[in-house]
Symmetry: C2
C-alpha cells in the first residue's frame, strides 16, 4: 500500500516550468560567463529535488543559434548529469509518439529502452535557437538526437500551423500539451487572422483533458501586428505558458474573456539591463490534479546575480556644475549612487542567502540611468574601472539618456 | 552449454578497425555530399552484422574541426541507430575508467547504467578533429558527452606524453589498448627523441597482455622529422593501428626490427584524387585469441564510389596539333580516355556488385592527369561539363602538369 505522499505522487502531475535560459549568454565574459549555466543547473537540481514528472521549457534554451562547442558540451553534460537516472517516469505517453517526434527515432526519450531517463525535458524552440541553415536544424535537434531533450512544437508551415497535442496520462489525470515554437510575430499574426492556426483536440473524451499550451512570442504589443493577442488563443485551453518575454510574471493571470490562465515564467538570466529583467527570477512547479484542478507554486532562483537599477537626473542635483566633468563623475560614483546601489544589492543577496558567507557575495549587476540633459556625458568604461572588482558589469554601469529621447524602458525592453 | 560458435564468441575479442572516415567531407556537394556518411553507415552496419565487441577508430572521424550542425546531427543519429541496443557487451573494462575518461562521467559508455550500448566505439582524435578553441574541446567530446563514443588517448602535454592503456578482458584474453591522438609530427618526433613518450605497461601479469597501439601520425617520411619512424615505437607492442595515412594498406606488415605488426586501414572516403586513395577501401575485423594469437580479416567497402585515374602525355599523342585546342579537348574526352575510364569504373562496380541494377551504378570519380609539356592547358571546368551526369567530379577530372614539375604522386599524397 502506498503512503500518503506516494499516493499523492501517483495521482497528480508535477511539472517544472521554465523558459529563456539563454545558455551561453556572455559565455566569454570572465565574470558573468557561467551565469546562464549556473541558473540552469539550479533549475535542473530543483527538478530533481522536487521529483517532478517532467520539465517543460518555453524556448530560447540557447542564446546563440549556433551555440559554441563549449556551450553545447556544458549543456549536454548537465542534462546527462541531472536528467538520466533510475527514477522511474510514472506517466504514460498515450498519443502516437511519431506524430510529435518526426526524427529517425520517433520516440519520447523516456520510452526509449536504450536510455534511462529520470526527468524528461520537453522543449519548443525560441527565436534565438530556431531551426536554420543547411538541413534546417536547430540546437535542440542535436540534444534530441542524443536522447537528452524531447523537442516538439515545430510547425510544418508558418502559414498553415496545425498543432496536435502530446497526450499524457497519469492515474486519473489527463494532460494535453500543445506546443508552438517561435514564428516571426507579424507572420504568425497573419496566420492567426486567416484562421490558419489550428489546434486539434483529442478525439476521445475531449472534455476530460487539461490543456496546456506553450508558445514563444511577443505578448507585449510591440507594433500593430508584432505580437500575439491573448484573445487569438482558443478558449478550450486551461493554461498558457508564455515564453520569450523575459519579465518574470509567473503568477497566474486569468484572461477573463477566454477563461484560461497565463503564466509567464521569464528568463533565468538577464540578457539586458532593463526594468523587466530586474524582477526577481523564478521558475514554477505546476501541479495538475484530477478534475482539471491545478496549482502553480513559484520558486525563486538563488544563483541569479542581484541586479539593481536606478535613475538620476543630473539637472536635479544641487551643486553640480555643468562644466565640471570630474565633479559629475564623483557624484555618480560615490555620493549615494553606485556605492549605495552596491549596498542595496548586497542586502538583497543577504536576505535571500542568510547562511552564505559575505565573501561569497557575487558581484551584482548595477545599472544607473543618467538623464544628462544640459550636461555632457562621461566615458562609461572609464567610469566603471573603479568598480571592476565589485560590479559584474563595470563597463556599462552608466546609461546616458536625455529626457525627450526614449528611455530604456521602451516597448522593446524585456523580450528577447 | 554453449554451442561451438558461441564458445568462440566468448573466448576471443572481435574488433572492427577503421580510420579517417572524414564525416562531412564535401557535404555540400550535390553528388558526393553523402559519400562519407554512406561509407560510415556501411562500417557500422558491418560491425553490427559481425557482432564485434567494439569498434576502434584511428582519428579524423570528422573532416572539419567544427563539423556543421547537419554533420553532427547525421553522425549522432547514425551512432544511436547502430550502437545502442540490447546486445550485451561481453568484455570487462578492468583498468580504472576515470584514468582513461577524464570528463564528468569518468566511465566507458557501455558500463554506464543509463545507456544501453550494444557496440562501444573507442576513438582517438586526428589532425582534422583535434581539440581546439574555447574550452579546448573537440567534436569527439560532444559525442562522448552524449554517451555515443568513448574518446581516449589525449595526452596532457605534447612534450611529455604518458600513455596508460585501457585494460580489457574477455574470458582468457587480456587486451591492452594504447591510444595517442594526433600531435604535430615534428613536435612529437622531438618528444620521442627526448625519451618523453612513455607507454606504461600493466603492473600485473605484464607479459600476458596483447598490446595494441592506435595512433594518427605521418607514417611516410614527409620531411626529416615530419613523421614518426616505426622504430620509435616500443617492441612490447603486438599490433599498431596506424591512422592518418589514407592509403589502404590494411594487410598486416611486420616490422622486423621491433617484431610488432602494423595495419594501416586507410580512409573510408577519398579526400583527394591521388594514387593512394585509389587503392580499394577496406576496414578490418581483428580477432584476438588466447595466447596472443590474432588474425586480421579485411572487408572491402561496397558503398565507396569507384575511382579511376590515368595519365596521358600530350606530346606522345600522334596527330595532336599543338595549336588546336579543340582537338586536344576531343582527344582527352573521347578517344579512349575519359570515356574509357568511365567504362573501367563501371566494370569495377559491376564486379563488386553483380546483383545491382545498372541504373544504380554510381557516378565514378575520374582523374586524368595530363602532361601538357609544349602544349597549353584547357579549362578543366568547361571540359567537364559534358560529363556532368556521368562523373561525380566533373569540375576537376583533368589535372595538368609538366614533366619536370612534381607529379601529383609526390610525398604529400595520401595523408590527410
Ligand atoms: Mn525569445
Ligand atoms: Mn529569450
Ligand atoms: Mn589525418
Ligand atoms: Mn585523414
Amino acid at each position: 500500500m502506498l503512503g500518503m505522499d506516494e499516493q499523492n505522487i501517483e495521482s497528480r502531475f508535477k511539472i517544472l516550468i521554465a523558459t529563456d535560459n539563454h545558455l551561453g549568454y556572455l559565455e566569454k565574459d570572465p565574470v558573468r560567463g557561467n551565469d546562464s549555466f549556473a541558473a540552469f543547473a539550479e533549475i535542473l537540481a530543483l527538478a530533481q529535488e522536487e521529483k517532478v514528472d517532467f520539465i517543460l521549457l518555453g524556448g530560447d534554451l540557447f542564446h546563440d543559434n549556433k551555440p559554441s562547442r563549449k556551450c553545447m558540451h556544458k549543456t549536454m553534460t548537465m542534462l546527462r548529469q541531472f536528467c538520466m537516472g533510475d527514477k522511474p517516469c510514472l506517466f504514460d505517453f498515450v498519443s502516437a509518439q511519431d506524430e510529435t517526434f518526426k526524427d529517425a527515432f520517433a520516440t519520447v526519450n523516456y520510452c526509449d529502452p536504450n536510455y534511462n531517463v529520470s526527468i524528461p525535458i520537453f522543449s519548443i524552440h525560441g527565436n534565438h535557437d530556431d531551426p536554420s541553415g543547411d538541413g534546417d536544424l536547430c540546437a535542440l535537434d542535436l540534444l534530441s538526437a542524443a536522447g537528452l531533450v524531447n523537442y516538439f512544437g515545430r510547425a510544418d508551415a508558418v502559414d498553415d500551423v496545425q498543432i496536435s497535442p502530446m497526450l499524457l496520462k497519469k492515474s486519473d489525470v489527463k494532460l494535453a500539451v500543445y506546443g508552438m515554437g517561435n514564428i516571426r510575430d507579424e507572420r504568425l499574426f497573419r496566420t492567426f487572422t486567416s484562421k490558419k492556426v489550428r489546434m486539434f483536440r483529442p478525439k476521445e473524451d475531449k472534455d476530460d483533458w487539461f490543456n496546456v499550451f506553450v508558445l514563444h512570442q511577443n505578448r507585449v504589443k510591440r507594433g500593430p501586428t508584432n505580437y500575439i493577442p491573448e484573445s487569438f488563443l482558443p478558449d478550450f485551453l486551461h493554461l498558457v505558458v508564455w515564453g520569450h518575454e523575459h519579465d518574470c510574471l509567473i503568477d497566474l493571470e486569468q484572461n477573463e474573456e477566454k477563461g484560461f490562465f497565463i503564466t509567464q515564467p521569464g528568463s533565468s538570466v538577464a540578457t539586458s539591463l532593463s526594468e523587466g529583467e530586474m524582477i526577481p527570477k523564478h521558475v514554477g512547479i505546476l501541479e495538475i490534479h484530477p478534475d482539471k484542478q491545478f496549482k502553480l507554486e513559484k520558486v525563486a532562483l538563488k544563483t541569479v546575480r542581484p541586479f539593481v537599477m536606478d535613475d538620476i537626473v543630473l539637472a536635479d542635483c544641487n551643486l553640480l556644475r555643468r562644466s565640471d566633468e570630474k565633479n559629475v563623475d564623483e557624484v555618480l560614483a560615490d555620493k549615494a549612487r553606485v556605492e549605495e546601489m552596491i549596498t542595496t544589492a548586497r542586502n538583497i543577496w543577504k536576505g535571500a542567502h542568510p547562511d552564505v558567507d559575505e565573501d561569497d557575495f557575487p558581484r551584482p549587476l548595477i545599472r544607473l540611468r543618467v538623464d544628462y540633459s544640459n550636461f555632457s556625458t562621461l566615458n562609461p568604461q572609464r567610469f566603471g574601472q573603479r568598480f571592476v572588482d565589485r560590479v559584474a558589469n563595470p563597463k556599462d554601469i552608466l546609461y546616458f539618456f536625455r529626457k525627450r529621447q526614449a528611455t530604456p524602458g521602451d516597448k522593446k525592453a524585456g523580450a528577447s
